[in-house]
């Protein structure tokens, strides 16, 4: 068999088709990608409701009233139900929760970590304000948090 001699020149793969596909992929990802922060969540256990039965709590819950005074995040108003010193802001709520915690934060306060905390937004409270208050309680490392019916 007679083998033909290749002409002088570089030996190379034909990359055209691969580059076509690679560019298509690149364009697809560039168009389809949307940069946004991932969603997170607060877990909330919901006790089962059975008709004719009421749930009894071991401890008297700490009730936190949440209201909206405007549409901005800082327009939140929080109050404590009961014989506590008045609080005016989320920062003060955070401070109260931490300083009255039985363990942690270097304190020996009244409330155990599992003490029931009841958040009580009004019917017109914005969801972001209810969540902001919920977040403060979670940040203070309380574990037994519930959302009550609107006050």
């Amino acid at each position: 068999m007679i083998l033909r001699k290749r002409k002088a020149g570089t030996i190379g793969l034909n990359l055209t088709s691969m580059i076509d596909v690679v560019f298509l992929l690149l364009i697809y990802f560039m168009v389809a990608t949307e940069f946004k922060t991932a969603e997170e969540s607060f877990p909330m256990d919901m006790p089962m409701r059975q008709h004719g039965q009421t749930i009894t709590l071991d401890d008297e819950p700490l009730v936190i009233l949440v209201e909206s005074a405007g549409t901005k995040l800082e327009d939140i108003r929080v109050r404590l139900e009961g014989p506590w010193d008045p609080i005016a802001s989320l920062a003060e709520l955070s401070s109260f929760l931490r300083s009255n915690k039985a363990t942690g934060f270097g304190r020996n306060g009244l409330f155990a970590e599992s003490h029931p905390i009841l958040l009580k937004p009004t019917g017109s409270t914005r969801w972001e304000h209810a969540i902001a208050a919920y977040n403060v309680v979670v940040n203070a490392k309380y574990t037994n948090i519930s959302l009550d019916e609107p006050s």
């Binding site: 580059i19 877990p43 919901m46």
Partner: protein
């Protein structure tokens, strides 16, 4: 002027650096891309400061979306493939119950940050009416860390 050159060889651009960069870009986009949760309707979720929320694990779950209207009201409720009226809470309970019986263990609640709590509470109560004890996840926007 006479031009020198090898008439037998093709003139080729050096593609190697371009392919390198292109592959890097593709790898970047593949890594950062996240398949969109088709159950999640686009809305302006609450974004608390110094959020203590965590990224939810991904067990089987059913997502309840409260479609927002102006003034903190809700238009409809979207659960999976179903769109139901805001007052059809019995239907919501039935759909969530079906999902939970089908293996879902969590209910993800997504509501716009402007939604009034009265609507949220009615939906939570409807979910509670399912009768089992689903774990509810209150979905918020994550912080850029």
């Amino acid at each position: 002027m006479a031009r020198r050159g090898n008439p037998t060889s093709a003139i080729n651009a050096n593609m190697t650096p371009m392919i390198d960069v292109t592959f890097l870009l593709i790898v970047f986009f593949v890594v950062v891309s996240q398949i969109v949760d088709r159950d999640a309707v686009s809305m302006d979720l609450p974004a608390p400061q110094q959020s203590a929320a965590g990224i939810p694990e991904e067990p089987l779950h059913v997502t309840v979306n409260l479609l927002p209207l102006e003034g903190g009201n809700i238009a409809d409720i979207v659960v999976g493939d179903h769109t139901i009226g805001k007052d059809a809470l019995d239907e919501l309970t039935a759909i969530v119950r079906t999902h939970l019986q089908g293996g879902a263990t969590e209910v993800h609640l997504r509501a716009d940050k402007s939604t009034r709590y009265t609507h949220i509470h009615r939906v939570i109560e409807a979910i509670r009416d399912v009768g089992t004890t689903p774990r509810l996840q209150l979905v918020v926007n994550g912080e850029i860390r």
